[in-house]
């Protein structure tokens, strides 16, 4: 872990300088999710953009376990943050993926990805309480704060989650954290996808302490967590065909399961959780709401899948270099473009991922 360092002034100069020259910046953290953010084939470098790394802007600025809030600089590694929380018996509720073990706080927030517990503990954006950022004008701005409830002004802090750095360079983030559950257990059920989804939906209407539900290759794994008594009671009620290997949920979170090594083009589907899975051939996470699909080659299968997802009222994104591109469609596109212009009129910040120009 590098020592704590505050390079906000340097980062601000870099953004202000680029804005003054009419230049472009390509913001990066540790690079663990760069495979989602290369953007258009022309790329930032091709367009003359400069790399600007936040990895040296590090350190936990404030952490008081009894407040359930942690504030850290954007370049702080997720591993360091989670180790610090773990030492106090706490955790990040949204379980950010650590692809290839890496990841910084800023990168996690910019990408906005949440792990297996999302339906129960909330998404990354739900845990964001406040941010400090540099907008495209080179101004340092703070939105939100370090308290649980805050409705002063527009929520421009949560808006940064998943914006891939196109609205601001994140300097620091305050997050809501949670106590680690006292006990955890994973149950295994051998079921076909349709039955698995039906079970998950029925369980969602019951007060079981579920914190994970994922089906792949004919096996549904269910994570229970909470007070030991509650976990025991639920395990007895739910039954099951065995227990899962330890580390399953982390491997799922980090896409380290064999399932993710099939080699096809990976798609992420976000659908109403009860959407009929028959014939979809997906890994079904989040009790149905998040699905991963490895597309066979050929355009037909992809076109059919996209139609199905749209009919189900969901969305599909390719989980590759294009994932980070903010490509709005429909009536929202106008507002998305104008929002970009409101934060970064000269298109200094990650132009290769940004929505097209407004007006």
């Amino acid at each position: 872990m590098p020592p704590d360092a505050d390079i906000a002034d340097y980062l601000q100069d870099a953004v202000a300088g680029a804005a003054a020259r009419g230049g472009a910046l390509c913001i990066s953290g540790s690079g663990s999710k760069a495979f989602l953010a290369a953007g258009h084939a022309t790329g930032p470098q091709a367009a003359g953009g400069q790399l600007l790394s936040t990895t040296e802007h590090t350190g936990i600025i404030d952490y008081r376990p009894e407040e359930l809030v942690l504030t850290a600089r954007a370049g702080t590694s997720l591993a360091h943050i989670e180790a610090t929380l773990g030492a106090a018996g706490q955790r990040l509720p949204f379980e950010p993926p650590r692809f290839r073990g890496g990841g910084t706080l800023g990168g996690a927030v910019a990408c906005g990805l949440s792990g297996p517990g999302r339906p129960w503990f909330g998404a990354l954006r739900d845990a964001v309480l406040g941010v400090e950022l540099i907008n495209g004008l080179g101004e340092r701005l703070r939105f939100g704060g370090q308290v649980m409830k805050n409705v002063a002004g527009y929520d421009l802090a949560r808006l940064q989650a998943g914006a891939f750095g196109t609205l601001g360079l994140l300097l620091s983030v305050s997050l809501k954290v949670l106590p680690r559950p006292q006990s955890e257990r994973t149950l295994v059920f051998e079921l076909d996808p349709a039955t698995a989804v039906a079970r998950c939906r029925a369980w969602a209407r019951q007060p079981y302490p579920l914190t994970g539900a994922c089906h792949a290759d004919g096996v549904l794994r269910v994570r229970l967590a909470g007070a030991p008594a509650a976990v025991d009671e639920a395990a007895a009620a739910l039954g099951g065909d065995g227990a899962a290997a330890p580390g399953y949920w982390d491997a799922l979170r980090d896409h380290a399961l064999d399932w993710f090594r099939s080699g096809g083009c990976l798609w992420r589907l976000s659908v109403p959780p009860a959407a009929d899975p028959a014939g979809m051939d997906c890994l079904i996470n989040w009790a149905g709401a998040e699905r991963w699909w490895s597309a066979p080659s050929g355009d037909d299968a992809t076109a059919r899948m996209l139609t199905r997802v749209a009919q189900a009222g969901g969305h599909a994104r390719r989980f590759d270099a294009t994932y980070g591109i903010q490509q709005p469609t429909g009536p929202a596109a106008t507002y998305v473009r104008r929002l970009k212009a409101a934060f970064d009129p000269a298109r200094v910040l990650n132009p290769h991922l940004s929505p097209a120009d407004a007006y």
Binding site: A161, P272, W286, Q326
Partner: protein
């Protein structure tokens, strides 16, 4: 925004066009009919609207917005009018767009555990409709029998159970929103996320300034099978505050953790006889929920903490009736305090929990300085304070004194790292306090966001984000410790 002068002929044209697109009886024009709409729950700030439109469908809302846009008429959205910051205060030159008649529950989708409702549906009505399936909508503002889900979204409303179950923003998965330019935005849906900028989060808490919410999809949760309610009484406010921190520090997340101080306890006892110990300087109400074995274990832990922190009396409700009775005092606290004085002014700052005792002591000092009493009832677990400043509007200068004292309390909340509003919103009320919390560049960024959605500035103009000019004129306020420099100037 300056008031717009509208000529008589133009007025007639607009009125006629609106009447054309609305059902009979859905356009109010007569002074007597308009009067009830002159304020929201913050009755100190009033203005009778020019017109009130009460559409019954999204297409009627769209038509009203189109006419107002064409004629440059400001539009103020309103749900149930229970807001406490003047966010729904109308304008004499504008149309008040009341959404209360759009009150249908469109769908309870049990497979996806969501409800799709129109914006005028009352918060509690959702849980009542879901209740027969063992489900409910978690955010429960104290005003839940009256306030609308559209208003909840606009304010990002909280409630007693938000410590464990989150605010409105955590429990809404989809919105339909009409922009003033006539676009229909479908944000989110029945799934858990959508690609691109999180406009759903941005819209939540935007106080009706970025768009009009015409449909809301909320997440439904299973009703917890068991709950326990504990009442603990303390001889010192500081000890009660420390107990709040200790409970959280031990890894417990109660469903609710509320605090009331001496004056609030006395008021509640006099009003509803909840059985609170009258000698207490502060009480904590703690609700634990979950399955049986779990709540009993948590209850034992909480009891031990409360004793350790010096509670002189601990009472665990034995049955649902007693639980309801203990909660009754808290839920009736606002009207109870309302009986102590002709008027009260409800504040809404949030602070880090660790600063509770210090900020409450500061408020006590301000009571002496301003000569006004304060009753405190609040969401202690979230650090969300609701000091109720008692005053008498009929006594010259008292309202102004109450407002000045309120501004000082909010400034203190900001000074300890908190915020000027936890759940009631900025509206018109806290515009000045916003100047102390945000820099000019930050406010300007917010104005640019507003401009992105409403370039003409017609949707609820002048609310939530103060102009830089206003803040500059107010500059002296914070330097001089909150004494309003130009108290006689119009403030809104």
């Amino acid at each position: 925004m300056q008031q717009v002068e509208i000529g008589a002929a133009e007025r007639q044209r607009v009125t006629a066009r609106l009447a054309d697109v609305l059902p009979v009886g859905a356009l109010l024009t007569e002074p007597r009919a308009l009067k009830p709409y002159e304020s929201d729950g913050l009755t100190a700030i009033r203005e009778v609207p020019w017109l009130v439109a009460l559409p019954e469908s999204e297409s009627q809302v769209r038509a009203v917005l189109a006419i107002c846009r064409e004629h440059g008429v400001p539009v103020v959205p309103r749900g149930a009018g229970t807001g406490l910051s003047g966010g729904a205060r109308p304008r004499a030159d504008g149309v008040l767009l009341g959404l209360a008649r759009m009150n249908r529950i469109l769908e309870i989708d049990l497979d996806n555990c969501v409800a799709r409702v129109e914006p005028g549906v009352r918060n509690l009505a959702i849980s009542q409709a879901a209740g027969e399936h063992g489900l409910y909508y978690a955010p429960d503002p104290s005003s839940q029998i009256a306030c609308s889900i559209g208003g909840n979204v606009a304010e990002n409303a909280g409630g007693v159970h938000c410590l464990k179950y989150g605010l409105t923003v955590h429990n809404v998965v989809g919105l339909r929103v009409l922009t003033i330019e006539g676009e229909t935005l479908e944000l989110g849906g029945k799934g858990l996320d959508a690609p691109g900028y999180d406009l759903l989060a941005l819209m939540t808490g935007s106080e009706g300034m970025l768009g009009v919410v015409t449909e809301v999809t909320v997440r439904l949760l299973p009703v917890p099978p068991e709950k326990r309610v504990v009442l603990a009484a303390f001889g010192e406010v500081a000890a009660a505050a420390a107990a709040v921190g200790a409970i959280i520090a031990e890894g417990l997340i109660p469903a609710g953790l509320e605090m009331m101080d001496r004056l609030a306890i006395q008021a509640a006892e006099a009003f509803v006889q909840a059985g609170y110990p009258r000698g207490a300087a502060a009480i904590l109400l703690c609700e634990l929920d979950g399955v049986g074995a779990e709540v009993d274990a948590a209850l034992a832990q909480v009891r031990r903490i409360l004793i350790g922190q010096g509670a002189f009396s601990i009472r665990v409700a034995v049955d649902a009736a007693e639980q309801a009775k203990l909660w009754l005092g808290r839920k009736a606290a606002f009207p109870a305090v309302g009986r102590l004085a002709p008027d009260y002014y409800c504040m809404d700052g949030t602070i880090p929990r660790a600063r509770l005792a210090e900020v409450l002591a500061h408020i006590t000092a301000l009571e002496a300085e301003f000569g006004l009493a304060v009753a405190n009832v609040f969401h202690a677990g979230d650090g969300n304070l609701h000091p109720l400043i008692l005053y008498d509007a009929n006594r010259p200068g008292e309202l102004e004194r109450a407002e000045a004292m309120g501004a000082r309390i909010l400034a203190q909340c900001v000074a300890v790292g908190g915020t000027v509003t936890g759940e009631h919103g900025v509206g018109l009320e806290k515009l000045d306090s916003m100047c102390g919390q945000f820099s000019p560049a930050e406010l300007d960024q917010m104005h640019r966001v507003k401009h992105a959605f409403d370039p003409a500035g017609l949707l609820n103009p002048g609310k939530a984000v103060p102009t830089l000019v206003r803040c500059a004129e107010l500059g002296g306020m914070h330097v001089h410790g909150g004494v309003l420099p130009f108290a006689n100037l119009p403030r809104f």
